[in-house]
Symmetry: C2
Subunit: 286 residues, 2 copies
């Protein structure tokens, strides 16, 4: 059996009791380590599980999936994923391959950013599609997020923006020379995300949002020192939310006053927050 086990958001104890029982009994334990990161290291996981953990990077999952699946017809193999196994990446290709090989699989679900983001105080019902924001470079400024945010905002919905993570990245020089030398990991901050959003709005000018649109910056969601900072995009473009991981939620119009009451204490500046709320939502903040 192949078990896809979600690890949740923060540390080794965020695994479920069922998940832990499975990991402890599996013959091999892989950790998917390219679409997200846990806030703790592999050694700590290994100690907690009492098992060796094999890091599965993108190369391995995409080109050596048979290695992961090897023997899973007769023995148990665990494939650990930070968050939920069907969160940001669905691993459909791995599961399709398992099906081809007639290997049964089971999923142990867990929290992911896609549902835990509700902790910011906005109802999940009123979120539209989720978008991703990648690090811009001089020549590459992918802006497909813009149209999607506009689709959400046009009907009043909030948008969860997931921020880029660069792990196992090669410099152009190292890549050209075929050297397997990797750059230190990079994690996009809320401030970088807000800046890039404002740049693209300036370029496109379709008023999907503006510097005074309210947003919530989120860091280390699910950990004991998680942080929420509410403010205009302009304010968030200068905010410091500390260590990774960061995410951002752009507010839509469909927001209840109770939700605003809940969010207000997170404001960088309460007066500015109330002003921005009135401006966009046409209601006087309480």
């Amino acid at each position: 059996m192949l078990y896809l086990v979600g690890l949740g958001l923060s540390n080794e104890k965020d695994i479920t009791v069922a998940g832990l029982e499975i990991v402890k009994k599996c013959a091999r334990v892989y950790l998917e380590a390219y679409t997200s990161i846990l806030m703790i290291d592999k050694a700590k996981l290994e100690e907690f599980y009492g098992r060796e953990v094999i890091i599965a990077d993108r190369e391995m999952v995409e080109s050596s999936s048979d290695e992961i699946l090897s023997g899973a017809g007769s023995t148990d193999v665990a494939f650990l994923v930070v968050g939920d196994p069907f969160g940001a990446t669905t691993h459909t290709d791995l599961l399709l391959r398992a099906r081809e090989l007639a290997i049964p699989f089971r999923t142990i679900h867990n929290a992911s950013i896609m549902n835990a983001i509700g902790a910011c105080g906005l109802q999940l019902y009123n979120f539209g599609q989720t978008v991703s924001m990648v690090f811009f470079t001089e020549n590459w400024r992918p802006a497909s997020f813009y149209d999607r945010i506009k689709e959400n905002r046009d009907v009043g919905l909030h948008t969860l923006v997931l921020l880029d993570i660069k792990v196992k990245e090669q410099s152009l020089e190292n890549m050209a020379r075929g050297r397997r030398v990797y750059e230190p990991p990079r994690y996009m901050t809320v401030a970088q995300c807000a800046q890039q959003m404002l740049e693209i709005e300036e370029e496109k000018g379709e008023a999907a949002y503006s510097p005074t649109t309210l947003a919530i910056g989120v860091s280390r969601l699910g950990s004991e020192d998680q942080q929420f900072v509410a403010g205009t995009l302009k304010q968030l473009s200068e905010a410091d939310l500390g260590p990774p991981l960061h995410s951002l939620v752009l507010l839509g119009k469909r927001v209840h006053e109770l939700e605003i009451d809940y969010i207000r204490p997170f404001a960088v500046d309460v007066e500015e927050f109330n002003r921005a709320y009135e401006l966009e939502h046409g209601k006087k903040a309480a």
Copy 2:
């Protein structure tokens, strides 16, 4: 400290290791029991936790929240929620009250239908807003879901439809006489949901969807006997997905062929599935 602890989707072992440690040490343990249900009973939870579990129904949470919060400034109180504490209901009012009383709180997240639905094979990125479907009565057929589904479908997004649960429901007669006698719980099925959707489309006629629109019926998500059934709304209006809980996903146009490959084995009828896919998505199914 008030701990909001998500229980996950299916049974007592879906709690996280961190969540279980907290429950075991809390002075009082409440179980929120009106917006969702766990597939196991209270006695089993109590045995697993080694603690008494107090059922908190809607009345209690809404009008006696101070009772729940009593003493939580100096001792630990757990408030257990099936799924994630910020899933379908955010409990914002309870948390606002905790803030007023200067009671600190922490959330232990878990899977909820809002993210675990990714297990049907569709990317969570391409889901729009989530809608709810309630049991229609002769005089009450709330159809606000229709416009929201249309908003999602107009831009190509999928829609998760959460189905009504009636627990602790009084008959009109018992309510009028003030008798606290409750009807047996009722859970909407995928077939009932699909029927109601088709009725409303027939009434409104705005082509938000049609009897040949593809959808996925989901039952007992996260449990060992979870089930996915794919087909047209017409087919699903006649499908039997067994015991509760059920949900439904209405497909949008933004779907990748890999996702369709993953879903096809769930089809009631593969030929009909391929035909419906071609019709709506303008592509020949592989």
